[in-house]
Symmetry: C2
Subunit: 330 residues, 2 copies
């Protein structure tokens, strides 16, 4: 189940247009409060959502979108923080969206944003934002793609999206990101065998964190042989495995190098454009379908769809005939 985007607003008062334009300008100048305000506007399904999205569009497409996923306990938050540090060393502007309900970053912007990311709290070139998951169990908030647009347009070189690796969310993150990092750690009691089946298909870079623990080499061998079984096309990307000790900031340079190498491959193979087009397609379709649902759900005070559903439930019509009636009304 995917959370639905807010229906597009129709009215666009003149004075708001100016405000949104100014806000986007300030965000592009590096004003963190303007960035925060824009993310709030998209997250709260503001009536300005549509206008904000339009104002951001010309400035998007620059940032590398990097997803970070893994089971609770692999050290995802520590790794995200260490990765931010590594990217800052190279002078890159970084945005972080934490949509992991188990993350110390998420679940309340006021408290969450500051814990453990203190190192970066005073750095104006790092934006950290926790996204409410809005009951979308373990998954990404529907507003995540819009928040990515804000950070991208605000001039971030890299946008990190951190989410927990359960259920659908790992697949969703792979859909949103250009490059997906999958974190695992030895001694988690599950090993690769028990890991969710999806994990072997979504990683562009695998990171074995807590690599100083017993079992790290076994885990690496296991993972390598399982990845080798995958049927990859000639010239396709072969996901590397990197070992890190995030708590000591060890190995993050190699992670950044592999992210960059993957981004290079994405561009040269044409896969970047393909992934981004696919992503945009999903977004457009989802907005259009939501608008249609709203239309069917309430026409002139009565619901066309409900009337048809009652006929189907009563055996007076069948679902295909009802769907045809619905489409004929468009």
């Amino acid at each position: 189940m995917v959370e639905e985007p807010a229906p597009a607003s129709i009215s666009r008062p003149r004075r708001d247009t100016g405000d949104v334009g100014r806000l986007v300008g300030r965000a592009r100048d590096g004003d963190p409060r303007a960035v925060a305000r824009l993310i709030s506007l998209v997250e709260d399904e503001s009536p300005l959502l549509r206008e904000v999205t339009a104002a951001l569009a010309p400035y998007t497409g620059h940032a590398s979108i990097v997803g970070i996923t893994g089971s609770p306990g692999v050290g995802k938050s520590t790794s995200t923080s260490a990765l931010v540090g590594e990217l800052r060393k190279a002078g890159r502007r970084v945005g972080v969206l934490a949509v992991d309900p188990s993350s110390p970053f998420s679940g309340g912007a006021l408290l969450g944003d500051r814990v453990r990311m203190q190192d970066h709290a005073l750095d104006r070139d790092v934006y950290i934002r926790s996204m409410a998951s809005r009951g979308h169990l373990g998954g990404l908030a529907w507003s995540t793609p819009q928040a990515i647009r804000v950070l991208d347009a605000a001039g971030c070189d890299v946008v990190l999206i951190e989410t927990v690796g359960v259920g659908q969310s790992e697949v969703e993150i792979a859909g949103l990101a250009d490059t997906t990092l999958v974190l695992i750690a030895p001694g988690m009691g599950d090993g690769i065998q028990a890991a969710k089946a999806g994990i072997l298909e979504i990683g562009d870079v695998y990171v074995i964190n807590k690599a100083d623990r017993d079992g790290a080499d076994t885990l690496r061998r296991e993972l390598r042989s399982m990845l080798a079984l995958a049927d990859r096309p000639e010239g396709g990307w072969r996901p590397p495995i990197v070992k890190t000790i995030a708590s000591k900031s060890e190995g993050l340079d190699e992670v950044v190098a592999e992210i960059d190498r993957h981004q290079g491959w994405l561009v040269s193979s044409g896969e970047l454009e393909a992934r981004r087009t696919r992503r945009a397609r999903g977004e457009v379709e989802s907005i259009a379908l939501t608008a249609l649902r709203a239309r069917w759900g309430d026409v002139h005070g009565r619901s066309e769809l409900d009337d048809l559903a009652r006929q189907v439930a009563a055996g007076e019509s069948d679902p295909y005939a009802a769907a045809e009636t619905l489409l004929a009304e468009l």
Copy 2:
């Protein structure tokens, strides 16, 4: 993510109409091969799907749809088989749809349908069918609602849908069924605390199976106090807890009694009509949206949606504007 129904077929050759009509007639006369053929037609997304659905419609709405869910190991298959036995004692015609990938019934009709349900193999008033879950991880096949229609129209008094209680599927089953049974068992190592959060919201009847094991009474107390915390409206249904030992067919009479009591409440409260209308609404909408997707995906050999998505990805348009263009073409 919900699997998509096949787009409606347009052509309906005359001779097929006669075939489908005859097939439905034979199914209603109790011919198990006709029932099997009809389910295959809907499951295989046959071009006749639409015609079959139309032919079934007038005969639907009679059966009680009972969902059975629970974690692997609680004895779901044994319980289903014992429940079939109990319903047969009362002379009721029973259909079973097994969409549980871990079930011995499912994962291959030829082998699966016979294992453990041997008791009922020669009973012409019991239809057993395993549904392929079609990569829809742990979830219900999209064709399940159509298969329910077949069994309903074929004169089943009760249709049992068995699925595994992981992830979305337990919520999905509650969406399809009139009455949802949630099975738990002592000594599963998880208890109620660790049970999926959704479990306390979806059960209409809770069944503690393997009730002769240690911990059954503790489990019942735990469950009862957790159910008591739920905020239920005045006159709302309060889910009972029944203890069974399915392997000895003990307690199933009480399960049937509670199902019947729940069905009575559904009718008297108006909830049955509400649930069935909601279900039909979802079906109709899903068919309509799939047809729209097909239309957007390929218009005159080129894809309108892909063109728009490329513009959004390139920053030349934004998702809301693109969605509007898409809708304007309808």
